[in-house]
Structure formats: structure tokens, C-alpha cells
């Protein structure tokens, strides 16, 4: 048996977002409002990673991500892996694929977009353009790169 010491406390039941590129952990916490969910959230930054030098990790107790929830993370960290934990064991491992649309999570960066003033949920179409992931607002039809959406 390998003698590994956990840098972040193990959880009994919940979701672990692993292999987040170092530095993106905070963005994901903020964008997906993860602090609003779950019983306890533990986070590790700049942990050693076997494959990429360092990584961030987020553990959320008492919350089970659906495939849909997991895939929304692909916008920021397509290389992340979402593990569902039951009884301290990995019950399911989900690799991410980009969703076709994404709702609610982000505000449209266009300050003149009517979605800001009306009783509607934000809605974006995810598309690839010149090898980059872009988001097109359903309402104002403007296209944004993911960074400007994340910062809006």
C-alpha cells in the first residue's frame, strides 16, 4: 500500500473536482458559486500533480454533481476530472465534455444586453472559433471569449 498523506481532507460523501489547472480553483469556486452549496467545501491550491506539476482541487461534501453540472466546468478547465464519492470511495469518475448551451451561471458581459433588466436566465451557446471556446449570448447575439464572461 502506498503511503500517501492527503493534503486535503478526505470526504465521506460528495464531489471532488480534481486536476484543476493550478490557479483556476478560485475562478471555479466563484463562477459556479460552489460556496453556496454543500455542507463543507475544502480547497487545495498548488498541490503536486503527477502529470502537470501542480493542480488545484475542490471537495464538496454532501453534493452529487450531475453530468450536466460537471460539464459546465469544462468551459474553464476541460482537463479537470469530477469524482463522485460514496463512503470515502470513488463511485464514479467523470471526464468533461463541453456543453452545447450554458444557463444561469454567468452574466452577459454586454452591459446593454436586455437580459440584465428582464426576468430571464442568462443563456449562452458554446462554440469553437479558431480553436478557442467562445460563448454567444442567446439574447444580444454577441460572442465573447470565456475570460470576459468569467470576469463579467
Amino acid at each position: 500500500m502506498k503511503n500517501t498523506k492527503m493534503s486535503v481532507e478526505a470526504i465521506e460523501n460528495g464531489t471532488v473536482i480534481d486536476r484543476i489547472p493550478a490557479g483556476l480553483g478560485l475562478t471555479i469556486l466563484r463562477q459556479f458559486k460552489i460556496l453556496h452549496h454543500g455542507e463543507a467545501v475544502t480547497v487545495g491550491f498548488n498541490l503536486p500533480s503527477q502529470t502537470r506539476g501542480s493542480k488545484d482541487i475542490i471537495k464538496i461534501s454532501g453534493v452529487t454533481f450531475s453530468e450536466h453540472d460537471a460539464n459546465r466546468l469544462a468551459l474553464f478547465a476541460p482537463e479537470a476530472v469530477v469524482n463522485l464519492i460514496q463512503d470515502y470511495q470513488v463511485a464514479k469518475k467523470m471526464h468533461l465534455t463541453l456543453p452545447v448551451t450554458i444557463s444561469e451561471v454567468f452574466r452577459c458581459p454586454n452591459t446593454n444586453c436586455a437580459s440584465h433588466f428582464e426576468p430571464v436566465r442568462s443563456r449562452f451557446y458554446v462554440k469553437q472559433q479558431n480553436g478557442e471556446t467562445k460563448l454567444k449570448c442567446h439574447f444580444c447575439e454577441k460572442t465573447f471569449d470565456r475570460k470576459s464572461v468569467a470576469e463579467a
Partner: protein, 306 residues
Amino acid sequence: MANPLYKKHLISISELTQEELQLLLDTALALKKNPRSDLLKGKLIASCFYEPSTRTRLSFETAVLRLGGQLIGFADGGNTSAKKGETLADAARVISGYVDAIIQRHSQDGSARITAEFSSVPVINGGDGTNQHPSQTLLDLVTIYETQGSLKNLKIAMSGDLKYGRTVHSLAQALKRFGCEFMFVSPSTLAMPKYITDELDEAGCNWQISNDLQQAAEWADILYMTRVQRERFDAEEFAKIQGKFNLNAAMLKNAKPTMRVLHPLPRVDEIHPDVDKTPHAYYFEQATNGVYARMSILSLILNEEI
């Protein structure tokens, strides 16, 4: 069989199928040839202009009345409950209970789509902020189709303010579906935005930049002129570009006989009045086509068959 536009919203040209677009063009030209005053008989249309736009409004309202329909509405949002903070969503639910269709102009991008999502009747976008103005694009397409007999593989030159001109953006986006080729003539600070040229690349359409308006006029099937606003430049800069993007009749002597000059109007000095007398001038006819384009939209959306 119902026509494919019956009871549909018209928010953005890009959502129309090729078949729907063709139907709109054919219907506009058919109505121009054989006017009909019965297609909106018994229909009540709301013309909701939250921001003033006299030409667009008059053109839409003329189209409704020429087709035998009736109108309610407002020409300026300043006096409406929007000022008191009512959402477009609520206004849509109320107004759509009164009428058969809503024409809406509003300063916010995406406002037409919001109204459409809450309206029980078709919504026609009369311009939403800097986003879409589909009836304007349609009248340009009708005019190009009318003068060239096709929209396919045309050479389209666009001149003037290509950076802020919503008209030229929408037109380029619509024409990229027909394999057209483009030449852009503008001051370098007012060049066509990259997101548009990226879309043309993606669609496989050739485009080039030129700073010679006469050369563009000789190359083109359609020369689409827009106005360069003096306010966009300081005096010294303006002196450098002044006149470079103005067209006169002498510059057209080697143009193709079928070449037509278009302009969304109003013009200032970018088209010299001596162009008006040449066979290339078509901008006033283009403005007239605005009414037929809007008649086409209204009659297809409100009639199962026409």
C-alpha cells in the same frame, strides 16, 4: 400547406432558412408588381417604438396600412410605462393580448427576443440596440436580388464607416450564405470588425481591403455606400481622409452597366448629386423597397397562405 413563416417571430435574419428568405424576397417583389390591400384585413398591429426611428416606423406603418391592417402604438418610449420601470416581459404579455402582431424598436440588444419569449403573438424586430435590424437587411437583399436577378456569387463593395455600421455588418452576414465576394473601402480606423471578417472566412467567402473607391466601383456588382461621420475624427485626421470616400459620376464611367449604388440614407456628401442621374443610382428605389420588404414580412407572418 401553411407558409413556413406563418405565426413566426422575425428577430434575426440569420435564423431564416434559405427557403424562408427566398419566400420573403419573392413575396416582396410580387407585392411591388401587384399591390394587394387585403392581406392584413381585420388585423390589428402594435407599433411599439421605445426609441424614436422615424423612417423605420413610417415604413412599417405604411406597410400595415397599404395591406389593409390597422395600427395602435407609440412613437417614443418616453411616455410609456417602461419609464415607470415596467419590464418588456410584462409589456409583451399585456400588448400581445390586444393585437395580432407586435413591431418593436428598442435600444437594448436582445430586447426583441425577450418580447418574443413573453408574447402570445408574432414579434417583428424593428431594431434592437446595436444588434439586429432584419427588415433593413431584408430590404437591402430585396434590392440586390431585384437588380442582379440573384444573390449568388456577387461582388459586393462596401464603403464608408464599416466599423460602426450595423447595416453593412448584417448585410455581409446575410450575403456570406450566397458565396458573395467582398471589397471593403474605409478609413483604417473604421475598418470592418474582425468578428465579421472571421465569419466570412469561416463561410469560405473571399474578401479584400482597398482604399480606392473608383477601383471598387469598377470591380463591383453592388457598391454599398455609407456615411463617414466627421465626429469620429479630429480636424487634422479628417482633412486627410476628406473626399476619399465620396462618390461622383466621373468615378463610375468604367463601372459595369448592371452595377448599382445603394445607400441606407440619409446621405450627406458621400454620394454627389450627379450620381443620381446615372443608371447606377438605386438608393431611392431601395428606400421604396423598404415598404415592400415590410409588407412581405407582415403578410407572410399573418397569413397561412397568400
